[in-house]
């Protein structure tokens, strides 16, 4: 296991897209000290801002210290395990393709943006545009799984094409905006106007959204057996989804009852927003 302990007190943010376990496998500690980290309009070697020790060949990397002002951690990683013991900055795990990125604290905006595979676990709160898309892109998240232990900001899963986002707490406004497919779940409910412009996909919320767009259909009762499969998938990844069982009559029980609204009827109209019947 490799440990990188950040010793950086400056207020200028860093961009550390080079910190990803799959790129460390064949490198020595001396090589890692020289990895360029962007600071403003120039780079500095990693060794100048962090202590690096351990074995890089294991594919397991632990980041210690305050990484909240360091952007793009694990960006594009394809394999291995990267754990941030504390908060992480913007764009963490963006465009991930595989492996696992675990953030013990909070994550900044755009975490997991446009990721195509792997697992991103955020123990604390997640910022805006979680699993979202960058300006100009035709799709956001295209695969993989994002698990959030607390709350998430606005525009979770915007233009999401495939994959799973599960938030144990609350989600912000405009969740799943323009969603193409995939599954987003908010155990604690979400903000206003979820699913605006969604074509397909599913948004699960712990309670009826405060403001459901008028372009969504009248709610109908349903017993979605697939939610049990969904909950099992999350449990297999280690997420405590007992919160679902507290919802409604059994939550994720195969016979649990939910209400469903379909939309967005301004678009394809094959998306769905579901919440437990109480």
């Amino acid at each position: 296991m490799l440990t990188i302990r950040l010793e950086y007190g400056d207020s200028v943010p860093l961009e550390a897209g080079a910190i990803r376990p799959d790129m460390f496998l064949d490198k020595t500690l001396a090589d890692l000290q020289k990895i360029p980290i962007w600071r403003g309009n120039s780079t500095i070697p990693l060794g100048e801002i962090a202590r690096v020790f351990g074995d890089p060949s294991t594919g397991r990397v632990i980041l210690e210290g305050d990484w909240s002002r360091v952007r793009r951690l694990g960006e594009g990683m394809t394999s291995g395990f990267l754990r941030v013991r504390g908060p992480a900055g913007l764009h963490s795990g963006a465009r991930m393709k595989g492996g696992m990125l675990q953030i013990d604290g909070e994550a900044g905006d755009w975490a997991g943006a446009e990721m195509t595979g792997g697992v991103l676990i955020i123990q604390g709160n997640a910022g805006n545009c979680l699993g979202g898309r960058y300006i100009g892109s035709r799709a956001g998240m295209r695969g993989g799984t994002i698990l959030v232990g607390k709350n998430a900001g606005n525009e979770v899963g915007a233009l999401m094409r495939r994959g799973v986002i599960s938030v144990l707490g609350k989600g912000g406004d405009h969740a799943g905006a323009g969603m193409i497919a995939g599954t987003i779940a908010f155990c604690g409910g979400c903000g206003i106007r979820p699913g605006a412009g969604m074509r397909r996909g599913s948004i699960l919320t712990g309670r009826r959204p405060d403001s459901l767009l008028p372009t969504f259909s009248k709610e109908i009762p349903t017993q979605p057996g697939w939610i049990f499969l969904f909950a099992n998938h999350l449990r297999g990844l280690g997420q405590d989804n007992s919160g679902w069982q507290l919802l409604s009559k059994g939550g994720n029980h195969p016979k649990s009852k939910w209400l469903k609204s379909s939309g967005d009827l301004l678009g394809l109209g094959k998306g769905e927003i579901l919440w437990p019947e109480v």
Binding site: R162, T183, Q223, P224, W226, F228, H233, P254
Partner: protein
Amino acid sequence: MKLNGIEVEDTFAEAFAMRATRLIITASRPVLVDAAVSAMTGYGTSVIGCDAEASRESTLDQSSTPDGRPGASILLFSFDKKSLEKAAINRVGQTVLTCATTACFNGLNASDNAQIRVGGNLRYFGDGHQISKKFGEKRFWRIPVMDGEFICEDHFGMVSGVAGGNLILVGGDPDMVLDAALSAASAAASVENLILPFPGGVVRSGSRVGSTYQKLRASTNSSWCPTLSNLPGTAMKPGENCVYELVMDGLSRGPVEEGMRRALHTASHFPLTRITAGNYGGKLGAHHIHLKTLLDIA
């Protein structure tokens, strides 16, 4: 050779390599699981005349099914990948999809190139209203039906199985031979990864390759028919009036051997005149399971 005083002929069962898959069928009530399994495995005894050989492997409680409901696992065997896929699609589409509250899941892990696509083909029944859900590496299809949604996994794993393991039980009293056959079938059925595709696990119409009628691929095994035992070519000995065969299909050779072993030892406690096995001279099947290797208790 003797086992518990019963003669066991020094011969072998000739079994064949076939493609196999496992399906997990669930429903809201056990009675519906049974109904779906019964329909799904019907007309699935021998690939001589059916599209696949199929039978219930085991009954599953709700803690061991993917969707937390009562269920059962089914093994399905056919000649090759293409025919197995076609049989699975047709059978699931006609017998599971149509049964109230059911769902159908893959029960085998296999590499990408050893998979058949079932849900991915049945989804078109949804007429555009079907919904895909991909959790991890598994994709499920939700097809709207009149009681909600039929959930079916996209791909099912496929392995190279072994089909046609067999035992032939011969005796004087037909009731006793039947008792022996049913008990032996029950013992074999307790082996995991194994099915006995014939009704009750017992075959009364053992067949041979070819026929005097050109259009038939197989015909009755006349040498084992007691009503023809007075004719030349009979395999029956004096005092032998009834023959039953057990046929077993397994996901690999091991379960077939174990099923045959259990069946052999169970049958040997009945006053049969002899126990033997069927083969084609060793020229057709890749797997030769010799009875002498099954005499010891594993």
